[in-house]
C-alpha cells in the first residue's frame, strides 16, 4: 500500500498545486481561463487514472498475498520512506542557504564560503587547494559578471 502511495506522490503534488491555482483564479472571467480550465480538468482526469491504476495494482497484490500464506508487508515497508541521498540534499541545502545569505553578506564572502563548503562536501581535504580554488573562482566570477557583464551583484555588509 505504501509503495502505491509513494507512486502517487508526484501526481498528488501536481494536483494539489493545480487545485490551488484554480482556487486562486476563481474570480477570473472565463475568457482568461480558456486554456487553464481544460488543462486542469485533464490533470484531474489523469490523476484519477493514476489513482485507479495504483489501487488496482494494490488489490491484485493483496489478492495474491492473501492466496499465498502471510502478508507481504516487510518488502514494501522500506520504500515508504524514500532512501534520501544525503549528499544531494546537502548540496540543495547549501544552495538554499547561499541564496538566503548572499543578499546580506554580499557576493564575495558568501561565494567564497559556498565554494569552500562545496569542496569539503565533495571530498577535497587539502586546505591550500580549498582556499586557493575558492578565492580564485570567486574572483573570476566576480570579474566576469560584475565588471565585464555589469550584472549588479549584491555587495552586502562587506561591500563586495
Amino acid at each position: 500500500m505504501k509503495k502505491h502511495a509513494v507512486n502517487l506522490f508526484v501526481p498528488t503534488l501536481i494536483l494539489v498545486w493545480a487545485l490551488a491555482y484554480w482556487l486562486d483564479i476563481l474570480d477570473v472571467s472565463a475568457h482568461d481561463k480558456l486554456l487553464i480550465t481544460p488543462v486542469s480538468i485533464l490533470i484531474f482526469v489523469l490523476y484519477c487514472y493514476f489513482a485507479f491504476v495504483e489501487f488496482s495494482s494494490y488489490r491484485k497484490e493483496r489478492a495474491i498475498a492473501l492466496q499465498t500464506e502471510g502478508e507481504t508487508t516487510g518488502e514494501y515497508e522500506n520504500t515508504f520512506w524514500i532512501k534520501l541521498p544525503r549528499r544531494e540534499i546537502a548540496i540543495i541545502f547549501m544552495l538554499a542557504i547561499y541564496l538566503l545569505v548572499v543578499q546580506y553578506l554580499g557576493f564575495g564572502a558568501t561565494s567564497f564560503l559556498f565554494m569552500f563548503g562545496m569542496l569539503y562536501l565533495l571530498g577535497v581535504r587539502r586546505l591550500g587547494i580549498m582556499f586557493g580554488f575558492s578565492i580564485i573562482s570567486t574572483a573570476v566570477l566576480y570579474f566576469a559578471f560584475k565588471v565585464v557583464l555589469m550584472v549588479p551583484l549584491p555587495g552586502g555588509i562587506l561591500g563586495f
Binding site: 509513494v6 507512486n7 506522490f9 508526484v10 501526481p11 503534488l13 501536481i14 493545480a18 490551488a20 491555482y21 486562486d24 483564479i25 477570473v28 472571467s29 475568457h31 482568461d32 481561463k33 480558456l34 486554456l35 487553464i36 488543462v39 486542469s40 485533464l42 490533470i43 489523469l46 490523476y47 487514472y49 493514476f50 524514500i82 549528499r87 544531494e88 548540496i91 540543495i92 544552495l95 538554499a96 547561499y98 541564496l99 548572499v102 543578499q103 561565494s111 559556498f114 565554494m115 562545496m118 569542496l119 565533495l122 571530498g123 577535497v124 580554488f133 573562482s137 566570477l141 559578471f145 557583464l149 555589469m150 550584472v151 549588479p152 551583484l153 549584491p154
Partner: protein
Amino acid sequence: MFGGVFFGLVLGALPGLTGTLGIALMLPFTYSMDPLTALVFLLSIYSGGLFGGAITAIMINTPGSPANIATMLDGYPMMKKGMASEALGLALISSVVGGLIGCVFLLLITEPLANLSLQFGPAEMFMVAIFGLSVVGSLGDDVIKGVFSGLFGILLGTIGMSANGIERGTFDVLYLLDGIPLIPTLIGFLSLPEIISLISQQYVVMGELPNPSLKRILSAGKELAKRPVQVFLTSVLGVVVGIMPAAGATVASLLSYNQCKQLSKKRELFGTGIPEGIIASETANNASEGGALSTMLVLGIPGSASTAMLLGALMLQGWVPGPSLFVDHREIIYAAISSLFVQQFVMLAIGVLLCLGAAYILKVPVKYLIPCVLMFTVLGSFADRSAFFDSSLMLFFGVIAYVMKRHQFPIMPVVLGIILGPIADRELLRTVQMYSGNYLEIFQKPIVLILLAISIASVVLPIVIKQRSLKTQG
C-alpha cells in the same frame, strides 16, 4: 565580426547568459558606429550566441540558451559515451550549415518570406503551439506520464498576466507577474538534477577518454553529408518557424527535433546520443535566424527578443524597418545580409577552437567542476532580472525535477509546456475574441488545416507504425 562572434559564442556558452544579453549590452556602443558596422557586429553576436549555448548543453547538460534545449537531449548522452568532440563538431557544423541555408532564404526570398509571416494570425499561431505540444506523449517511456507532465508544464506557463492583463496563479508574488522566467526554469528543470547526480562520479565521463582533436570535431561534416534531406528539411522548418512572430529559435529547434523523432525510423534511439538529434536542433535554430531577420527587416516585426534588440539598433541609427528600408538603404541591408554568410565561417573557425577547449572540461574532476557549474547556474538565473528570486525558483524547480525523475515522470514535456503553453494560451484567447460567433471560419484557413493535420498525424502515425512493427514481429 570576429569580436562579435567570439563575444556571442562565449556569452551563449554561459548558462543563463544568451546572445540576446550580448546584443543588449553592446547596443549602446553601436550608436557611435556606422550603420553597416553596427548591424554586422550585432548580427555576429546573435549568430555566435545561437551556437554557443550548444557547448554547455552538450558538456554539462545545461543549455546556454533555450534554443539549445533540444541539442542537450542527444548531445549530452553522446558526450557521456565519450564522444564529446564528435557531439560538439556535429553541433558546430550543423549550426554553420543551418545558418548558411537560412542566409540563402533571407537573401533570395526575403520579401515573400516576410509576407508569408502576415498569413500567421492567432488561429495559425495557436495551431503551431498545438503542433509543438502534440509530441509530449512520446517524450518519455510512459505516454500518460508524458502527457501529465506536459499538462503541468502548460499550467506553469500560464502563470502571470494574461493577454487581458489579469493576474493568474501568482499568489501575490510580484516576481511572477511577468510569468515564470524561462532561463531559471530551464536550468532548474533540466540541469540541476543532472549536475547533482554527478557527485557520485569522479569525472563527468568515466573510463579512458580520447583527447579532443580537430579531426574528430570536423569528422561531423561526414555525418551531415550522409543526411542531406534531414539537414535541408530541418533548415527550411527553422526558416519558416523563424518568420513567425514570437516563435523564435527555441520553438524552431524543438519542433524540428520533435518532427525528426516522429518521422525517423530510429525514433527509439532519439535521446540516446545519435547525430540526428543534434543535427535537427542546431540546423533549425540557426536557420531560424534568416526567417526572423526577414520579418524584422521587411515588416518591422521582431520575432524574438534578439530581433527586437536588432530593431532597436536600426532605430538608433535613425532607420525605420519596413518596406522602405529596402528602398532607402538597399545596399547596406544586403551587405549586412551577405555578411551573415561570412559570419558562419567565422563561427566555424572560432567555434572549433572553443570546442577543442570545451572538450578538455571532461578531464577536470567533478569535485572541482560541480561548485563552478552550480555558481554559474545561480548567477545565470540571477543575471536576467537581477533577482535572487529567479535563482531560488531555479533551485525549487530543480528539486521538483529531481523528485519527478525519481518517480519516472519525464521532464521534457514540462519544459515544452512551459515554452509553448503561454503561446497557446495567448493565441487561443485572441482566436476566440476574433472569431466569436463564427468559429467555423477558423477551419477554412489553409495553414490551420495543414497544421491540424500534421498535429494529428504526429500523434497517430507513431502509434500506427508501432502497431505495425509489433504485428510484423509477432
